[in-house]
């Protein structure tokens, strides 16, 4: 059989069904920009409120992809059928206006893009679904309802960690091998300016030079374990600088005001947390659910030790205990124990930091981009009219 002429993917639409800005959105912005550099005309469509944040997250010095306001955010406040219908209508309009060759759909949550998936599958467009987070437990019922219309087998699927892939495969009725794991890349960083950052930030916080400093970086919400921070400061009797914003801000502010020692330091959102990673003795990562936490990779790249709950680093798999000090459980007591153990073992911590930095160095954007491009090609091939449907015995059964 002779080969058919090549298919060219020149126009890529990235409909982002997010309502707020976090790791998924940061990753999506950077990926979109890098695909643009590869010669793809990328349109990134998202809720208007997210566009400035997405633009700011693009790697500097590169032409940014086109940003388009679109009402695609998954609305939890309405019944799923209504949310799906709205998303679908928004996506249909986009597909008509943009006529993309391929759709890359980032999902901050497995059911966050069902309306987008319906619209894209309905047109038989090549599509790559990028899964960033999925919780253990029964899949959202809306997925099962929509599944017959999604043509899940016709899409390419990628996830940022093995647990996310496993859960999403179960939710969408896919064979586990159908979802490819692509490691999240880590930023390029180092230890330059470490001493200066330590001195400057300790001065700013009114700490002695030799006083340990812990930091928390992330949204202030329960999923990230931010509610545990006051108890952690109590148990450790150490200052924690909290970088971030979110629903729990008011609660944490009240806690901070009520603490005469002033250990909980709320710094708000920080544009560049790099100096904080370099200045800190450890990053506290008490999350209850993470896909592949970028915060960990940032800390690792900056040679900042990490104390984490087991759930936070689930995505690292069996390597997690080598790369961070894992608490025995996700509560404040266990986290405090782990933090104390980390501070008490400088040699072990240094070795752990070196391992984590090596892992961060391994996770480069060029490496990840190659994998994403491969999945985009696969998506194009899977949706091809020449393509015979693949038989997956384990899903057919």
């Amino acid at each position: 059989m002779a080969l058919t002429p090549p298919r060219h993917v020149r126009r890529l639409l990235v409909p982002l069904p997010s309502t707020r800005f976090g790791g998924t959105e940061r990753h999506t912005a950077e990926l979109a920009a890098r695909l643009g550099q590869h010669g793809v005309a990328v349109t990134l469509a998202a809720e208007p409120a997210l566009l400035p944040l997405l633009a700011a997250a693009m790697p500097p010095g590169q032409p940014a992809p086109r940003l388009l306001p679109a009402r695609l955010g998954w609305d939890d406040a309405v019944p799923p059928a209504v949310a799906i219908a709205r998303q679908r209508a928004g996506t249909e309009a986009l597909l008509v206006a943009e006529s993309p060759d391929l759709v890359l759909l980032p999902l901050p949550w497995p059911d966050a893009g069902l309306g987008v998936m319906r619209a894209v599958a309905g047109r038989g467009l090549p599509r790559l679904v990028a899964l960033h987070l999925a919780a253990e437990g029964p899949p959202p019922p809306a997925i099962a309802t929509e599944l017959p219309a999604l043509d899940a087998e016709g899409a390419a699927w990628a996830a940022v960690s093995a647990p996310v892939a496993r859960r999403a495969a179960a939710a969408f009725g896919l064979a586990p091998s159908r979802i490819t794991v692509i490691d999240n890349p880590a930023p390029r960083a180092g230890t330059e300016g470490r001493d200066a950052a330590r001195a400057a930030l300790r001065t700013r916080l009114g700490l002695r030079d030799d006083q340990p400093l812990l930091i928390f970086v992330g949204r202030l919400e329960e999923a990230k374990g931010a509610d545990l921070l006051p108890a952690l400061t109590d148990r450790l009797n150490l200052p924690i600088a909290v970088l971030g914003d979110g629903l729990l801000l008011g609660h944490l502010e009240a806690e901070a005001r009520g603490d005469p020692r002033g250990l909980l330091r709320l710094m708000g959102q920080v544009a560049d947390p790099g100096p904080w990673y370099r200045a800190a003795d450890a990053l506290i990562l008490p999350s209850r659910l993470e896909g592949a936490p970028l915060v960990f990779l940032e800390a690792a790249a900056h040679h900042c030790p990490v104390v984490a709950s087991p759930a936070a680093l689930e995505g690292l798999g069996p390597d997690a205990p080598r790369l961070a000090r894992l608490a025995a459980a996700g509560d404040a007591a266990a986290l405090a124990d782990a933090a104390r153990a980390l501070l008490a073992d400088p040699a072990g911590t240094a070795a752990m930091v070196a391992r984590a930095a090596a892992e961060a160095a391994r996770r480069s954007w060029p490496r990840a981009l190659g994998a994403w491009l491969g999945q985009l090609r696969l998506a194009a091939a899977l949706a091809s009219p020449h393509h015979a449907p693949l038989a997956f015995p384990e899903t057919a059964a």
Binding site: V9, D319, A380, L382, A391
Partner: protein, 788 residues
């Protein structure tokens, strides 16, 4: 206006042939031109405005290339002082006009040279002089099938070479290819078919003597023996790594010949730099065909389209590309990535066949993708008298539906022709003069010592790796009785190749001659090889190919002959080898035998009670000669990166407590941009979580380092360890760039080595992952340390 005079220095340069133009003093835009510009200074043509010195009239017949002036008046003024007929170039738009003028001048010079040639050809020319005469040594070592032989002299004047054929070819299909290369250009190429490979001296003439100024010359030799043919050429010394038996003659410029076996098309081509990759063009893909898979070519953005093969569960697929001339390429490169499917159950083989012998492809053996889903294969191209080869891919998928992306399929110039950096080689010798180079004196030479792992290496070889035969690597013919078991995950090791390293003993005779003239450019670093030492291209380990032999026994009839015996492998009655085989069949290109079951793990190392599938007898129908080359396995990102030819797992050891384990690895043919190592041995170990590499200086270990690093010694002798927690101190002990390159190269291939070794040892997927992780960890620690 009187004629210009010219400065004496400028005249000398002009007379020597330096291209010059004359410009009026005010002409601008000439600065930085790579051509000499003369200007009239007080009636004298000079190169610099302030130049002084004696001036002489321009002799008749000598003239500058052109004159340049900004306007007609200036041009007329210049022309009046120059010989008649010097062309005028416009100062505006000078460059294109200057290039055209240079081309025209070159053509004039060529025409003059042709005229001179004809005149010289009509005159008697002095007989050629033999400048190198290295007679064959009876029972000398067998030169490798691919070799680079420096001549230790400038190519100027070389009119003829001769190699010595020790054993004549029996098969017409055997092919010897020779190139004379100097200064990055091919001065001559010869292709000699088997019927002309008779015993004795084989003369290889050039149409005319090589021009002067071509730089140090070397020969590139590739001998591809057909199946069953024991043809070989002779060595000029008794020790391993001895130079080829060789004669070289020089002649005066008028010595013209119509040379036999000459490859006119290759003449004067630039010798492609090693590592140059030529991807197959669109036209080749348009003419390709696929069976057993759905093919789709996809390009994202501005990249070249890539082929994706959708492989259903249990698929056996084939991708055939049209024949195409290989030109100077000597490798086929494949880069593939598994985008979907089970990486343990998809296997790929790259095959290349000359158009004359489509049923006798050379092949890579079955390969699996690495832990990240990537696969790189470099396959030395087979000899094809016509120079045209056809590439094929065979793919089989024992797992669920899969998608394999063919990232790149290309022809490349590979390791052939890469001078081996040989630290033990003495400094280059002066070129040999007319007197014959003295043959090596046998009495003074130590016995040839194979440098490969001696069978007595401490570790027990894995059950599936038969003891390597002890004779030196033959170019092609497999030792007929050498049993082989197909084991794609860990191809059997090639026979130990003779150590190419010259014996450092001072009494080792060096090529020298009393009349030797000094090398013209002593200050320039010469190629690292000594003049007549042979530099071995990674040997073509004939018997190592696990899958194919040109003359396979007939396929067993009956249903699903999915396990086909190989020549040199087990007899049909024995249990099947672990994998299905590619089987060449007369009258068809090849057949892919159906796999029966998911790939089993490779057999475990020999253990009591476990019957390893050791073949019982050589097959009847397979006299010799497996495809002559095992492939290079490439390590990392680019095809120019580090590669190794073969890996043998000496031992996988875990102590009782489980606190220490190692993989004892023997690497053959490690090639990196900065060096080439025939044999490397190292242990990748994990000692209570500390990962490292251990190198030893003792019996059974090849000499790998220029200078042994460190001073650590234990009961077994000197050792050097590189451990991941603190790599820098150990790395700092590496004394030479070559040694540092060795460690960098080993680290680069280490994850791939760990994968293959774990497969050979029959480890579980988790254990394999762990070893690959250790390899990565060490490499990352070295990277982190800021070394290099």
């Amino acid at each position: 206006m009187t004629a210009f005079l010219i400065g004496a220095a400028e005249l000398a340069a002009l007379a020597a042939g330096t291209p010059m133009i004359v410009a009026t003093p005010g002409t601008e835009g000439l600065a930085g031109l790579p051509i000499t510009v003369l200007r009239p200074v007080e009636g004298v043509l000079r190169q610099g405005d302030s130049a002084t010195g004696p001036a002489v009239p321009l002799p008749q017949g000598l003239r500058p290339l052109a004159l340049v002036a900004p306007d007609a008046a200036g041009a007329a003024a210049l022309a009046a002082g120059l010989p008649h007929g010097v062309p005028t170039l416009p100062a505006n738009g000078l460059l294109p006009a200057l290039v055209a003028r240079l081309v025209a001048a070159l053509a004039e010079a060529e025409a003059q040279r042709g005229a001179l040639h004809r005149r010289i050809a009509a005159q008697p020319v002095a007989a050629p002089r033999r400048v190198i005469d290295l007679p064959p040594v009876p029972n000398g070592p067998v030169p490798p099938a691919r070799a680079m032989q420096p001549l230790g002299r400038d190519a100027a004047g070389i009119s003829s070479l001769a190699l010595h054929v020790a054993t004549p070819a029996k098969e017409a299909a055997s092919l010897l290819r020779v190139r004379l290369v100097a200064g990055g250009r091919i001065l001559g190429g010869w292709s000699i078919a088997g019927r002309d490979l008779a015993a004795g001296w084989l003369a290889l003439d050039l149409p005319e003597p090589a021009p002067a100024g071509t730089g140090e010359a070397h020969l590139e030799i590739a001998l591809d023996a057909a199946a069953g043919d024991g043809v070989r050429i002779s060595s000029g010394g008794p020790d391993a790594g001895a130079p080829l038996a060789l004669r070289v003659e020089t002649a005066e410029p008028g010595h013209l010949r119509a040379p036999r076996h000459f490859d006119w098309a290759a003449r004067d081509l630039p010798a492609l730099a090693p590592g140059l990759v030529l991807p197959l063009p669109e036209g080749a893909w348009a003419a390709a065909s696929v069976q057993g898979a759905t093919a789709e070519r996809v390009a994202v953005g501005n990249e070249a389209p890539r082929l994706l093969l959708a492989l259903p569960a249990g698929a056996e697929a084939r991708l055939s590309l049209p024949p195409m001339p290989a030109g100077l390429a000597d490798l086929a490169l494949l880069e593939a990535a598994l985008r979907l499917g089970d990486r343990a159950q998809v296997e790929v083989a790259l095959l290349a066949a000359g158009v004359e012998a489509p049923d006798h492809p050379r092949h890579s053996g079955w390969r699996r993708v690495d832990a990240e889903g990537g696969l790189r294969v470099a396959l030395p191209l087979p000899a094809a008298p016509s120079g045209s080869i056809a590439l094929r891919l065979a793919i089989r998928n024992a797992g669920p539906a899969a998608s394999l992306e063919i990232g790149r399929l290309a022809l490349a110039t590979g390791a052939a022709g890469v001078p081996r950096r040989d630290p033990a080689a003495p400094a280059p010798q002066p070129p040999a003069a007319p007197a014959a180079m003295p043959p090596a004196a046998p009495a003074a030479m130590p016995p040839a010592a194979p440098a490969a792992m001696p069978p007595a290496a401490p570790a027990a070889p894995t059950a599936t790796v038969p003891a390597a035969p002890t004779q030196a690597a033959a170019p092609a013919p497999a030792p007929a009785g050498t049993p082989r078991v197909a084991l794609p995950a860990a191809p059997v090791s090639p026979p130990p190749a003779p150590e190419a390293k010259p014996t450092p003993a001072p009494e080792a005779p060096r090529p020298s001659a009393p009349e030797a003239k000094p090398t013209p450019t002593p200050e320039a670093p010469r190629p690292a090889t000594a003049p007549i030492r042979i530099a071995t291209i990674p040997p073509a380990p004939a018997p190592a190919s696990p899958l194919l032999a040109p003359t396979a026994p007939p396929l067993p009839s009956g249903p699903a002959p999915s396990r086909v015996m190989l020549p040199g492998s087990a007899a049909p009655a024995t249990p099947p080898p672990p994998f299905g085989m590619l089987v060449p069949a007369r009258g068809s290109a090849f057949r892919v035998a159906a796999p029966q079951a998911p790939l089993p793990a490779a057999p475990a190392p020999a253990a009591p009670g476990i019957a390893a599938p050791v073949p019982v007898a050589p097959p009847v129908a397979a006299p010799t000669a497996a495809p002559p080359s095992a492939p290079l396995a490439f390590a990392q990102d680019t095809p120019t990166a580090t590669a190794y030819r073969d890996l043998k797992l000496n031992q996988h050891l875990v102590n009782k407590e489980g606190t220490y384990q190692h993989l004892d690895l023997a690497i053959t043919g490690l090639v990196a941009p900065a060096g080439l190592w025939r044999q490397v041995r190292t242990k990748l170990f994990d000692r209570r979580g500390t990962v490292g590499l251990e190198f030893r200086s003792m019996k059974g270990w090849p000499q790998m380092f220029d200078r042994w690093p460190g001073t650590q010694v234990d009961n077994f002798g000197p050792l050097w360890r590189l451990e991941h927690p603190a790599p820098f101190d150990a790395l700092a002990m590496l004394a030479t760039p070559h040694d540092r390159a060795l460690i960098a190269a080993v680290l680069e291939v280490l994850p791939g080595l760990a994968t293959r070794a774990a497969g050979t040892a029959g480890l579980t997927a988790e254990q394999e992952e762990a070893w690959v992780g250790r390899a990565r960890k060490l490499a990352a620690a070295v990277t982190e340390s800021g070394w290099r």
